[in-house]
Symmetry: D2
Subunit: 357 residues, 4 copies
């Protein structure tokens, strides 16, 4: 008798989702007597019973495609911390539909929110396997998530293009890179793009120290400065505030984008013309890079292997370069911020990149 | 006796400047007994007598490089319309240095401001030839300027990447494309990127009509809308104001970027989540595309031909697909806005792209 | 009553086919009361009556896709010059199916072979409109075909990458670019990529003159040479042969690829290590560049306009930069080789590019 | 007193060399009182005493550049295994020049040949540190070499473009990817590009089994097949021969390229039209990808750290995701072929990719 595998993608879209779906499906068809059930728009489809039994041909030609053929939606719970009545109803609905769809197991592709829900369902007795996707690279227990390296490529290309114009116009250019809580993307793209300053959520910055970098470069006849700033970068002053207090303060800003605040402050402090670039959502769009296609495929295949072995309550991971898995309960809800002592941070410091601290 | 050719690049940087410089130089060395004098940082170098006699090897390997090996600066005059004393002094300085450098002629690469100054110098008796560069494509008398198609490629790539994420999140995405006075770049990139709405400086928009496009698409189950808006796009209301009045009004805006104003208004009118992408200066950076390399080279070579033939006071142009030239006096100060009846606008309208009018 | 429009793509695949199909369809739906009939795999589908009535949604999201959603096949006739019985039968079948499908007109997208057949059908009384696609740019009466500039971009990128390795290894690199009868692609990519030598079918080369370029560069301490050679490039000796004689001779060659013959001869003549790169079919794959998307869309829209105006027996064209049309009978069977006096050839010669002649 | 660091690049060129050089230099200037001596054209410059003391500014702007600013050459020894008189003389010359240049240590960037020579010099008492570069990824003891992921990106892009044309023409496309001894590049690009068959030097193939894949796909109405073949892929029959015997046989082939042999054989066996694409040296050209820029920088910085700590006779490595080092004597001369049990091979097999075995 065939194994019936449900699959869904949840949370923000991300390059490599389709490649990972294809990996699960092709490996399942090849190594198991499998039937794949595509659940639409993330957990919402599981709650509403919105699904279709997939044909093998539906997984053809999707390796290179951005987005997700299954659709996605944000986490189904308004507040994961409080198990309100509403949440209880939703969990119940998901359990009922899991059975109604006659699933033997469920593969969920997503980020931190997705993993929390996956863990919840596993605790309720469903056979769940997670796959870690996000351009933020902030899922605990895996070297890299898929989608991350594609986003690094895109953000690096932006910085590359800015270099020419920065140099010829003697400007300070501030490039705002995605990442509200984790600065991995800004760190890697900043280093790859040759940024002079990298500002991360994990390392609060002093704007005066950033201004000093510009002044110092001017003294060395370097007429331009490139600053890579994460969306969630904060000043030393903001870091001292409580979260709510900080968020309230930020709402009052004239400029909603951190890059605009940084540029305005630097122009005031140094007198150097400062401009912003905000590539925004283009960082999560388009075809996955080769690295992410290989990683997504390996992750998908590994999920199929775990299913074959009857091992559930796990999430697939790259651990010191080797594909493996972690317990969902060990990963769900655990953040993975940039460690200020991380080897990439230290390499950047050694070549005189400033973190504004 | 050899011909001594001065060359300078002026105004905003632009892909293809180095390719055009190389075209002038290689053709001059090949077809004339030429010596090339590189003037630094645009007209400023001519005013200050800052130059070097170039070696042939300095033009090797620059075909693919962004920026300009000669450096650039903005137009040397604070106000071109009034010939103030300061201007007179600068023009005098340029004439003196032209002679001090023993130039037989001067090739100036730049946009509208550059052409005005070139025309001024030509009237003063200098042998001047212009080359039309700008990503805005707004120089009168040429089918295309070099730099334009590269910028179209970059902006189109941004829109491409946005499509995936717009679709998967059911959003309205507003992409702000360079172009304060002319909308060519937004028009071409918008059409190439499959934008649903294109907003140009030349065609004032009614935000309610834009909102209606979103509603109409929703009715057809199209859950996302892509809007390409030029930096200088204006509403019907703004178009009715005088320029100074409008600029004063725009300074008061909470949002400095037009895309932010458009997105905020649409979110209010339609209830659809709306986000902005502001690629900014990345649109003028990096290596020129193949089209621009060919065009820049042809332009540069044609300048050398005009020099050989002793024809000056001209600017090189692509006229109905053929390389030719125009009189500087016919081009200087003449804008080239998008004609609302342009064939590309009409093609866009025929496939149901809205211009918000 | 609605107009019923048949559409087919024929000949080799080419970037921009889907963009042009979309242009026809969206403009027809928007400006006419149209119904679109998609004919499968080119004329073969017309002969076999293999078609489907398209839904409007099938034209969504195809602007950026390579290939053709309708499928393609080579020209249906073994020998277009002789109207054999077989041909007569096929033409008869196409006329019958045109009526059976209740078409009001037929839009054919293709190259020279496609246009010949389109003209044949027009003579038989069908309402036919052609659209000129090919990466070879060799269709008479249009400035450019769509697909050409995308292929130029790809081939230029190949040459760019080769530069680094050529320089660091002091090699002669021979890059073979598509184009059996017409050298446009090699000419543009060669010039854009900074090739030192460009060998075209239209300008027979003398291998000794090519060798002399390598020697001359060595004298100037330029340690590498880049040669762009069209698939169909021929030597002066081959040019003197009759076609059959030449083809027989070429079959005997140890090396089937012209680049391999050139590289082997140059290594023998100069002693400089010579290597080949044969990118082949990658030059016709992938998403169309922005230029081709705009051009394809304009072409498609113009076809819809001609339908609206009831004008047939025409093929759409870009004429001196303006979208227009030519008579099918004026275009069918007329080649468009590179004129050795073409402005791009002359520009290349002026910057010291050798054509080996 | 300052530390004097010699640096050279040796062997085939590779993306990331300049990024790594910059990493060494910037970290050395930043963390040590260093002087950098650039040795020209690899070991040849050490033998001939061809070098220059570098200025700090020479390391600016090179992060993104392909090739190497120092130049390169192949390994200086005709036969590393036999220490002939000629070799002895060369080693002696290198030692003498190391002293004449007053070097405190020498950093060598290269592949397997470079590491052998580095080890030889270390045994002679010089302070040597190696950096592992190669697109082949075949250096023992490091997860990845720099240059590899860039080459994977390029080769994957080639396969992507081929997909469209393969599908529309119902062809078998054979793409020949660099790698004579190691198949890593073909393995990763093949998997990332969605190849149906991957042929590697490490897994001898049976052409009949490859033909069967094509037949099997035809049965499933998949009208095209993509084959990624490494330059050094061999048949089961060739694998049974001795190396010299095999090389003699291969010289006799009508087709010098393995892809041409494979395509011809498959066309004969299956009747399906088969074509080759040979991207060749474009796989090692151009700007390094973001991954390689980060890795190269980390490697360069780590070399500076080892110098600071006075630790020599080592080569930098990525070990299970962490930057570290190995003994030169443990790495030199040790190959790193693809293990047929490698996790990527197994993932590929699980999604039904054939290795022809």
């Amino acid at each position: 008798m065939s194994i019936r595998i449900g699959i869904l993608t949840s949370g923000g879209d991300c390059p490599g989702l389709n490649a990972a779906i294809r990996g699960v499906a092709r490996a399942a068809y090849q190594t198991l007597d499998a039937e794949i059930v595509g659940i639409r728009a993330g957990y919402r489809g599981l709650i509403d019973g919105d699904y279709q039994v997939m044909q093998q041909s539906q997984f053809s030609g999707i390796l290179t495609m951005g987005g997700t053929i299954l659709g996605t939606s944000r986490t189904p719970f308004r507040n994961m911390r409080v198990v309100e009545e509403d949440n209880v109803d939703k969990v119940h609905a998901m359990k009922m539909n899991y059975r109604a769809m006659r699933l033997d197991c469920l593969v969920t592709l997503g980020g931190n929110g997705t993993h929390k829900t996956a863990n919840l369902l596993a605790k309720e007795g469903l056979n769940v396997i997670g796959l870690p996707k996000t351009i933020d690279n902030d899922i605990f227990g895996t070297d890299f998530t898929f989608g991350f390296h594609t986003a690094v490529d895109i953000a690096t290309d932006v910085i590359d293009r800015i270099h020419t114009t920065a140099a010829s116009h003697s400007r300070c250019m501030v490039i705002e890179i995605m990442g509200n809580k984790a600065g991995w993307l800004t760190l890697y793209a900043g280093l790859a793009g040759g940024a002079d300053v990298i500002l991360l959520p994990e390392i609060p910055y002093d704007i005066n120290k950033v201004a000093r970098v510009i002044d110092e470069r001017a003294r060395l006849n370097k007429n331009f400065t490139i600053i890579a700033v994460a969306e969630g970068a904060i000043t030393v002053e903001e870091a001292a505030m409580k979260r709510k207090e900080r968020e309230a303060a930020q709402k009052e800003y004239e400029f909603r984008h951190v890059s605009q605040r940084v540029a305005a402050a630097l122009e005031r402090l140094t007198g150097v013309e400062s401009r912003t670039v905000i590539p925004g959502h283009m960082q999560r769009g388009g075809s996955p890079c080769a690295y992410d296609r290989v990683l997504s495929t390996q992750f998908g295949v590994h999920a199929a292997r775990l299913i074959k072995e009857g091992r559930f309550g796990l999430t697939v991971a790259l651990k010191n370069g080797t594909i493996g898995e972690n317990k969902l309960s060990d990963v769900a809800g655990v953040p993975k911020p940039v460690n200020p002592e991380d080897q990439v941070v230290k390499a950047a410091r050694d070549i005189n990149v400033s973190f504004g601290d």
